[in-house]
Amino acid sequence: MPIVVNLDVMLATRKMSLTELSERVGITLANLSILKSGKAKAVRFTTLEKICEVLQCQPGDILVHMSTQEYKQLMHRG
C-alpha cells in the first residue's frame, strides 16, 4: 500500500520509545508495532487523534501518501 507511516521518524525526533507511546496513547504495543511496520490495514480516527495529541503533530506528519513507483523504490531500498 503506498501509504507510509512515519511513526519511527516522529518518535526519533521526540526521543520517545514505542513502549512509552503505547502507554501514553493507551493502545497495545502489538497494535502500535503493526502500525509502525506498515502492516496495518486501517487506522481509527480515535487512535490517530491520540497519537497526534501525544506527539504534538498533524495526521499528515504521520501518514504520507506516495506514488506506487516511489513506494516500490522505498521498499526496494528498505
Partner: protein, 200 residues
C-alpha cells in the same frame, strides 16, 4: 440468554450430525427394506431376472392415462427402470453417502464456530464442498431422469410424458446455491475479520 440459545442450537446441530453419521451407514447395512437391496442387485444382474412377476414392467403417464408395457427387458432397461434401483438405490444409497460426508463437514464447521473463529478459510471451503456435493447429486439425479425420459419417449413417442420422472431436484439445486452463496459470505467475512484484526 442469547448465548445459551446459540450453544443450544449448536449442540442440536451436533446431535443431528452425529445421528446422521451413525444412522445412514446403519441404514446402508441393515435397513433398505430388510436387506432386500442385496437380493435385488443379485437379481438385477442374474439371467433369471425377476424384476416384476411377468418379466416385464410398465411405465404410466397418469396425466394422459397412457401405459407403456416393456416385455423381456434388456439388462440396461432393467437397471434403468428397476423399481428397487430407482426407488431405493438412487434416492437411498447416494444421499446416504452424501449425508455422511455432509454431516462430517458440518461437524468440522461447528467445531470451528465453537472455537470462536467462524469466519476462516476452512469454513468457507467446507461450505463450498458441501455446495458442490449437493450440486453433483442434483446433476446426477437429473442425468438419470433424462436417460429415462429419452428412452421412454424414443420407444413410446413424444406424447408420452410420465410426470413423476423428474423429481424435486430443483430443491437440491436451491440448497446447493444457498451453500455456495454462504461459502462466499464466509470468504468475505474472513477478509473482513482479517482487516479488523489489522485495524489499530
Amino acid at each position: 440468554m442469547k448465548q445459551t440459545k446459540k450453544w443450544g442450537l449448536l449442540w442440536y446441530a451436533k446431535y443431528l450430525c452425529w445421528s446422521s453419521m451413525l444412522f445412514f451407514p446403519l441404514q446402508l447395512l441393515f435397513l433398505f427394506n430388510e436387506a432386500k437391496l442385496l437380493i435385488s442387485i443379485r437379481r438385477l444382474f442374474s439371467e433369471k431376472n425377476i424384476i416384476t412377476q411377468n418379466n416385464s414392467f410398465s411405465i404410466t403417464d397418469t396425466q394422459r392415462g397412457l401405459e407403456l408395457q416393456v416385455e423381456q427387458p434388456s439388462l440396461w432397461e432393467r437397471i434403468l427402470f428397476n423399481e428397487t434401483f430407482s426407488s431405493s438405490i438412487l434416492p437411498g444409497l447416494l444421499p446416504s453417502i452424501i449425508m455422511v460426508v455432509f454431516a462430517a463437514y458440518m461437524l468440522a464447521l461447528i467445531r470451528k464456530v465453537e472455537s470462536g473463529e467462524p469466519f476462516n478459510a476452512a469454513n468457507s471451503n467446507y461450505l463450498r464442498k458441501m455446495g458442490f456435493l449437493m450440486m453433483g447429486y442434483g446433476l446426477f439425479e437429473v442425468a438419470i431422469s433424462k436417460l429415462k425420459w429419452d428412452y421412454v419417449q424414443r420407444i413410446a413417442g413424444t406424447d408420452f410424458a410420465p410426470a413423476e420422472m423428474f423429481g424435486n431436484t430443483r430443491y437440491v439445486f436451491w440448497a446447493a446455491i444457498a451453500l455456495l452463496v454462504l461459502s462466499q459470505i464466509f470468504k468475505q467475512g474472513k477478509a473482513l475479520a482479517e482487516e479488523q484484526s489489522l485495524t489499530v
